[in-house]
Amino acid sequence: MLSLILQNLVNGLLLGGLYICIAIGFSLVWGVLSIINMIHGSMIVLGSYLAYYAFASFGISPFVAPLFVMPLMYGFGYGLQRGVLNRVVGRPVLITLTLTFGLDLILNNLMLAGFTANFRRVVFEKPFATLEIFNIIVPQERLYATILALLLTLVFYLLLNKSRIGRAIVAVRSDRDAAVLMGINVPQIYAITFGIGAAFAGAAGSLMSVVLPISPVESASYLGKAFVVCVLGGLGNIIGVVFGGFALGMIENLGVMVTGPEYSALIGFVALLAVLAIKPTGIAGKRGFE
């Protein structure tokens, strides 16, 4: 029994690291642009496909895929924000959410038409061995994916806190008008912010491609995880996302011990509603994206 609990804890940590990577771009876009980005899940799936085809066609390992997936997705996100989304920044959530949902319908449909709904899988020629420590089984590819996800989160943190662009993003989030007075090109920063969000969605997708099968129909599930992580941890800072990601991983893995595996997605959303009803700002939430 104890080893089962430990096993589920480890599973929860491994999964939680990936959830952080899934949610961090979503959280940034929500926090800075006040847009609930319904297209986020499809961007993750697009990242998965880019990594998958690079692997299937050129034999590039999905673990290095973020190196080229992130710039590509950055360009996609930057263009989308510049061309379409900048027109609705600051509008009510009804408008922004509906608009990104419309964009998601388009992207998801194009992916269905281009890649079909069949599940694809990254199959390594030499499968990774599983580690076994004290009776706890750790699949190696999952471990590496999680470590990379956490490293990317660190990069995200440094980008936001140490770079000029990052400080400009935080400035725009805290006070848009003051940022304009300081000479910040706000529409440009919005586009960069959304580009970064898309880049991290793509990176998360690359890493997920070694863990889960890939299909356009998975996008709703990724989007759901991003929702739950952001609300659980609270909006507005990276610590919140890290907390929310690990929390969701743990809740799901420990929860299914009680309820059975078919309820794992339900548990997350019930937790989301509970947090919103009790403490809407989340466990570690505050205003302003730091």
């Binding site: 949902f101 309820y263 339900l266 009803a277």
Partner: protein, 327 residues
Amino acid sequence: MTPRLSKAAGRPRPSGVPSWTLWLSLAGIACLAALPFVLDNYTMRLATTILMYGAMAWGWNFIGGYVGYPSFATAAFFGLGAYTGAILLTQKLIPFWLSPISGAAACIILSIIVGAPILRLRGHYFAVASLSIGEVLRQMATSWVGLTGGGMGINLPPMTGSLTSETRVFYYAMLILALVSFAVSVLVSRSRLGVALRCIRQNEEAATMIGIDATRCKVIAFALSAALPGAAGAIYASWIGYIEPSDVFDILIAIKAPIIVLLGGVGTVFGPVLGAVVYLVFEEIVWSNLLQFHNAMLGVIVVVLVLFMPNGAVELLQRRVRAEGAR
């Protein structure tokens, strides 16, 4: 209603407007009731769908239009209504005509339970919470195989009678629902409740200061916005004859309701049904020409609508008509 009527009777009637409106609406209802004897089954299916969309949009309008809370819970209520009706009908616990009422009742109960906590939230958090209700219900319907059949869905008992008579039954059911939705909309928009809801939309703090019980009003609006899609879902389940979680709890349904209202004009009495007509025309054109890219085309419509006519296509049209008339 009675004191108001007697007061009105004491005064000279203002230029005969009420009786004119009354006759026009009666004529309209008579026309709608006569439609099945004129149109073929395909067109009747479209008409039934318009009435269903209209009922859902009138429902959404209470919370999204009058109160201005961005609710994405329509799919939750539509699906709950569909499952309530479907389960009660397959268990032979109720006759068909009770199924929309049972669907509406289940949705009212749910909306009161979840309404009180989530209606305290504003903006983005309310949107996320309302969207999550549908997701929770969808997961439950998928997992609770014993009650709902899980992902396999539920087959409903078929109606007895010919295809034409069946088409008529569902058309009249949706027509009655749409008329009820319309009547409730008119009553609410003219009542104290309607005034209170608009006050909350303008400024919730100020509304509370002048003595409006904001929580109570919001929960009533939310319950109305739940009951109508719930009844529509129950009729839809019998009409289509088969439901599954990914169909009736589809997020697309939650987005359709505000889209239809946006098309027709937010917070108005006729907006929802006008929007439903416009939306269905779009949808049919897309369905018949671009089956594989159906969702993408809907996406394009949504994007164009939100970017270029956020106040409603019908308002755009009205402005043009007015401009033409002024010339």
